[in-house]
Symmetry: C2
Subunit: 322 residues, 2 copies
């Protein structure tokens, strides 16, 4: 796993991914107390950054490798990314999703052409189901974050941020990234280590699911207790990835933790001030900038809004909040 | 008023305006029955395309002309565009707004630094109030659409659409534009007449406020009856502009009319499929593509979403609709 793999993924994704805009608002600058820019990955194909990693991984396979299709497990955003990327390669996909994932994510994954297999996230192991299917059909399993080509794909967002920031004259920043298993954060950290060396990449997690933040402190892969389902469904993972953690440890600065109330308020502010739809898990980095900026060092804040796949009911809850 | 003025406005706006993305979704393509791309001007500074025209007009003034500040009247989006553009030029602005404009628009205009004067849209004339203030203070009045430099500024959106479409290999399209007084539509039509000659530019209006659509049929400036306030507050104008109408007549194809229910449904679809926030007046063009595509000729549909300044209550209404 190295920077050259990100460049190679970027070449494969050229003309396929959307170069998402870096948005800002004087209202948010005032709230954060510093110039703040948000990378709107909610506007990426399939509604989240996951399209990058999924397309990167599938496009890196040889034709005969991917002929039998793709298998993936996902709480929803990787599922949609895989479904869309598989369709663009004209190959079938099967996605294992928790039965209690947001409806919009399950429906969209099906409509994008994937076969969806639901499982009980409290009793069954998605990894085991995935392995069984893989053995049965001979399809390729594309993991949501512990896959070098997935990390490389997510890293292309980091290449874009570095370039867009340079165009704005930003050469030093705290860069906050919504973090689950660490695929996006490690990819961006690797990209910035090469292309934006004065950016401090920091993972942000919801309270109760701060495995990466704690692992960066302790130096080993910490686990979350088995909590009931979080509002931030997209980034609830048991512990940092085996591949992602060494990268996070090598290239990230200390992380931040936000509450669900802060997440809902951040979603509303993104609605009011940036006119974008972000889901709870995609709003944690903005929430950290808005409500915990005392932990940030730089004159400029960069924030990644990682996805926008949220049910209307949850979004309406954020709109009516506070 | 000519194409060269749009190029000049584009040069003044360079590095100031946001080049808004052209978004698409396989779900929307399926609903419309054709490849459909949406120009997300809701992501423009100040939350609507109006920033382009406001900045264009103010930047075209000489220093001594604009020293005494800017006056404008507006239902809200031009107000915010003027306030932001005036602030960027370090000059004061005063904006005359209807007392029943959406709260978010009045608040934002004030927070962006403008002095706001509220008037009763059923009893008072904003034009008269504007003229009096102009005489009293010697400030420059920037009209919302009947101003060549405003039209030229809005036309820069047309330059971007033509270029972005060309990059996607689109050389023929119906281009639907949300239309009030016609500033945006005429600017885009002028830009396309030069840079995208196979684009059929069509104004879209809400039922009951279809003055431009009817005027294009009759060949003269038709008026709307005095209706009570519309959901589509941003694009409720009594009749086509004096400057805009000849351009609309010369360069536009026949227009379309949509209902308020269609607008609410289009807002929800933009939320679900594109992850953007569009206001009712900014959703009429998308509504026309979704629900009246039988009137469209081309293989590809382009749609302008003109703004996103909508109260949370109205947006929640769209989310709970149907």
């Amino acid at each position: 796993m190295n920077f050259e793999m990100i460049l190679a993924a970027d070449a494969r994704l050229s003309g396929k991914k959307r170069i998402t805009p870096l948005l800002n608002s004087p209202f948010i600058d005032e709230l954060v107390g510093r110039p703040t820019y948000l990378k709107a990955e909610c506007l990426q194909h399939s509604g989240s950054f996951k399209f990058r990693g999924a397309f990167s991984a599938i496009s890196a396979l040889k034709n005969n490798e991917r002929r039998k299709g793709i298998i993936a497990y996902s709480s929803g955003n990787h599922a949609q990314g895989i479904a869309m990327a598989a369709k663009m390669h004209n190959i079938p996909s099967t996605v294992i999703m928790p039965a209690d994932a947001p409806k919009i994510k399950i429906e969209n994954t099906r409509k994008l052409g994937a076969e969806v297999i639901l499982y009980d996230r409290y009793r069954e192991s998605r990894e085991l189901i995935g392995e069984k299917l893989q053995q049965k059909f001979g399809a390729v399993l594309v993991k949501p974050y512990d896959d070098p080509n997935v990390i490389a794909g997510q890293g292309t967002a980091g290449l874009e941020i570095a370039e867009q920031a340079r165009e704005l004259g930003i050469d030093e920043a705290d860069l906050l990234v919504c973090c689950g298993g660490g695929g996006l954060t490690s990819g961006i950290a690797l990209a910035c280590a090469e292309n934006a060396q004065n950016f401090k990449v920091r993972p942000v997690e919801p309270a109760g699911y701060d495995d990466v933040v704690r692992s960066l402190v302790s130096g080993r892969r910490e686990k979350n207790e088995k909590n009931p389902g979080s509002l931030c469904d997209a980034i609830v993972t048991p512990s940092p990835g085996i591949l992602t953690f060494p990268i996070l440890r090598g290239f990230c600065h200390s992380g931040l933790v936000v509450t669900e109330d802060e997440v809902l308020k951040a979603m509303k502010i993104a609605f009011e001030r940036l006119k974008i739809v972000i889901e709870p898990g995609g709003a944690v980095a903005l929430a950290a900038a808005l409500y915990h900026s005392e932990f940030l060092d730089s004159k400029t804040i960069l924030v990644v809004a990682s996805g926008g796949n949220v049910d209307p009911e949850t979004f309406a809850k954020a709109l009516s909040f506070c």
